[in-house]
């Protein structure tokens, strides 16, 4: 569009407005992350596993357990170990739940193909 007129008067690749937008988006997010960190500092005690939005199981973070979650969508192995919880195995295609590592108060581990979430409750 209109590029015929001035082939040499090319547009900039990146301008001051772009950088301003980038910096403000990142700044707001970093502030939000810090605030979340302060808000959810309390130690988590229970692990809540949901499937399809329904509560599937509640586990204590204090005792080591292994929970096999078998649904019609697939299989996940949830492991509680040393006050940490993570998904050890899954037969989902992307394995993002396994790669996500341990769940924290702020980080819910999700297996979207199986509609499974593993989160830590503050209660």
């Amino acid at each position: 569009m209109g590029m015929k007129k001035n082939n040499e008067g090319k547009k900039k690749i990146i301008g001051r407005t772009d950088i301003l937008i980038l910096v403000s988006l990142v700044a707001v997010s970093v502030v939000a992350l810090v605030l979340f960190g302060i808000m959810f500092n309390a130690r988590g005690k229970t692990v809540v596993v949901t499937v399809d939005g329904e509560e599937y199981a509640t586990l204590s973070l204090d005792e080591d357990t292994v929970l096999e979650v078998k649904t019609e969508r697939g299989y996940n192995l949830v492991v509680v170990e040393d006050g940490k919880v993570y998904v050890k195995e899954s037969d989902c295609p992307d394995k993002i739940c396994v790669k996500s590592g341990e769940a924290t108060e702020l980080k819910t581990v999700v297996c979207l193909p199986h509609r499974l979430t593993v989160s830590i409750n503050n209660k």
Binding site: M1, M3, K4, N7, K10, K11, K12, I13, I14, G15, R16, T17, D18, I21, L22, L25, V26, V28, S29, V30, A32, L33, F36, T50, D52, G53, D94, I96, K99, S100, G101, L106, K107, T108, V110, L112, P113, R115, T117, S119
Partner: protein, 174 residues
């Protein structure tokens, strides 16, 4: 806008078809080589170079149609209904926001890409909250905004460079 419709309909069909194919290839490459980060929604989003470039070259309607065709075809070939829902939510929100944001004075295609990347992730997060019924996923928002902004920066710079290519200008003069 009007005068360039004179070239020929077949020329336009060919250009749009090539663009769709390029977007599908980008999407497929990323499907084959995902970033080893392991957080939902984090990828470079190379396929979004195409809708952004088309938005700048031809306007919103062709960008929307090409993106829709790309998402549905890629979904049928490599994905499933859930992945189509995610791509549609991200693609649609991103395109609408990019359409609005590009009217801002002083913004280049790079800035449009940054905002588009962020909007894409927000659209996908909304779908994720619906599908899992787990509102706490929303706490990912800051992470997804940062990731979307960085991915969008990459996409935007590539789109900007593409837009300056003389051959692209020639091809797009339809």
């Amino acid at each position: 806008m009007k005068k360039m419709n004179m070239r020929s309909a077949s020329h336009r069909v060919a250009v749009y078809g090539i663009m769709t194919a390029v977007a599908m290839v980008f999407g497929y490459i990323e499907h084959l080589l995902p970033l080893p980060i392991g957080i939902y929604g984090i990828k470079a989003g190379l396929a979004n170079i195409v809708p952004l470039t088309i938005l700048e070259l031809f306007g919103a309607f062709p960008a929307a149609v090409i993106n829709l065709v790309r998402i549905v075809l890629s979904g049928i070939l490599f994905g499933n209904t859930v992945s189509i829902a995610y791509s549609l939510a991200g693609g649609a929100l991103s395109l609408v926001v990019m359409m609005l944001i590009r009217r801002i004075r002083g913004i280049t295609a790079t800035g449009v890409g940054i905002v588009g990347g962020v909007a894409h992730n927000i659209g996908q997060l909304i779908i994720a909250v619906f599908l899992t019924d787990e509102i706490r996923i929303a706490f990912y928002l800051p992470v997804l905004i940062i990731a979307g902004a960085i991915a969008g920066l990459l996409v935007g710079v590539i789109a900007s460079m593409t837009l300056q290519n003389k051959n692209i200008k020639k091809i797009s003069n339809i």
